[in-house]
Amino acid sequence: MIDSTELRKQITVDERLQDAISSTSRPKRPSAVSSTMVFATRALLRIRHVPEQMFDVTLFPIIFLLMFTYLFGGAIAGSTADYLQFLLPGILVMTVAQITMYTGIDLNNDIRKGIFDRFRTLPIWLPSALIGALLVDVIRYSMASFIMIGLGLALGFRPEGGLSGVLMAIGMILIFSFSLSWIWTTLGLIVRSEKSLMMLSFLVMMPLTFVSNVFVDPSTLPSWLQGFVEINPISILATAVRGFMHGTATFEQVMWVLIVSLLFVAIFAPLTMYLYRNKK
């Protein structure tokens, strides 16, 4: 038995349904900018609903900085204060570079749920789905940077490059990280599960971050390893970031960072979009 109020509710719902379905006029297709903003808003809302995902940009930097400063400080540089001057720019690069891989994981999750298919059936400029998310990631990266530098200052880090040098250094990191993220989006579209993607990213990032000039002066390394360290993009970025923070940046250092970043985007952004559009 359906009582009469229930029945009345049913009827009004049906009428509303009819109205809601039949009353639409199609708005103009959104511009690339506005669809990008919608996707950025989605990423921001996700942070609000799943705040745990901010651990990587808050706790990671703090733990990394404390751990490496006090673990290696005495052994490598003789004192933690001296080592911090050398280490902080590098460890900042390493931390932010590592958290870029979460971009790929988010995308991989979207694919396994149906929302990826829904986005792809919309008449929108498709790259906005990724660019919107990446823009919010850039905010996350800058948050990690500020937290780490703040903690570094408290521990005795004194950048000779001053505020402008530090800001330029962060700028370098953000440009590089945005570009690096496209590698993870590409992998996120190829790899089947979140687990294998995590593993793959660690496999790439571990050697890249450790076999670089982040922790030690490359002149202490065997010569065959020095060759790798020199062309390692992480070293290239760490050199420029150190340069800005200590006021010794050269045009050449900056140029190399920009060239590497440009290369990443030029190769992996089109590849990502191709895979995104043609994913089975």
């Binding site: 808003t41 149906g114 298919d117 829904r118 792809r120």
Partner: protein, 277 residues
């Protein structure tokens, strides 16, 4: 995976066909995907929303992606939530929705701008009867307002209830197509069931019916029940007349249209899946 989802994914521009062509509203699937995308909508088998966001946030996002401004997007999202009976759940994360609510918000997300063609991939799979009826009502309302709906289903009753045209897919191939009535007619008028008063009359009756109907007679566990698939109803009258002449007493008889289930089993000879248009 006998071809339904693959077909829908290709038609909704998600997968590229290996061979062949298709046109939707006159646009070529291979080269005019963008034009097609602006007139279709897809609700897949799996919840195609961001489950961490609330229902309202999801619909506002979809409206934004369809080109609504910030304010209009919110108005439209609220209108849809009310229409789909979800206004109380507007501020809850979609992951906390029940199965039926999830389906409804999923369909609502596809209707932010009423599409000319809506793909629904198994919209009622796993739903309780009440939620299923709600989805059916939504589909009927959509069709009545002029949207073409292409839905796949495993349930033949659903196809019978909703579809104007049905295509039966078995192992990736369409094995029959037409209206529900056409499909039913194609496998015969239906099933004749005769209930005898005395089980001793059974063999005699089988002989007689075979002769008059010229089809196979089936017997079940109940010795007094006989069934046959007949194609011509006029033969049935004759057969029953013959039984009366032979003084075989029957307590009941019925001639039913075959159900779509019977149609399907006859067509395939095995249990499989169906798609209806």
């Amino acid at each position: 995976m006998a071809g339904k989802t693959t077909t829908i994914r290709m038609l909704a521009t998600l997968s590229k066909p290996d061979a062949g062509t298709a046109r939707i509203f006159g646009y070529d699937l291979a080269t005019e995907g963008d034009r097609i995308r602006s007139r279709i909508s897809l609700t897949g088998q799996y919840a195609s929303l961001d489950e961490d966001l609330t229902g309202l946030e999801n619909l506002v996002m979809m409206a934004g992606l369809m080109g609504y401004g910030r304010k209009e997007a919110k108005t439209r999202a609220k209108e849809l939530l009310t229409a789909f009976g979800l206004e109380d759940a507007a501020k809850r994360q979609v992951k906390n929705y029940s199965g039926g609510m999830r389906r409804r918000i999923d369909i609502a997300a596809s209707l932010v701008v009423t599409p000319d063609l809506l793909f629904l991939d198994e919209p009622t799979a796993g739903l309780d009867p009440r939620s299923r009826n709600q989805v059916w009502d939504i589909v009927r309302t959509l069709v009545s307002t002029g949207t073409t709906v292409l839905l796949t289903t495993q349930y033949l009753e659903e196809a019978d209830q909703l579809a104007d045209r049905i295509a039966v897919i078995n192992q990736g191939k369409i094995i029959a197509e037409g209206t529900s009535s056409e499909l039913k007619a194609s496998v015969g008028t239906g099933t004749l069931t005769v209930q005898l008063v005395n089980a001793e009359d059974r063999d005699r009756t089988i002989e007689l019916l075979k002769q008059k109907l010229s089809v196979g007679i089936h017997t079940g566990t109940d010795p007094t029940t006989l069934t046959a698939q007949v194609s011509d109803p006029s033969l049935v009258a004759e057969a029953l007349g013959a039984l009366t002449q032979e003084r075989i007493a029957i307590s009941d008889f019925s001639l039913g249209r075959p159900s779509l289930d019977e149609v399907f089993l006859t067509l395939t000879g095995q249990a499989a899946e169906t798609e209806n248009v």
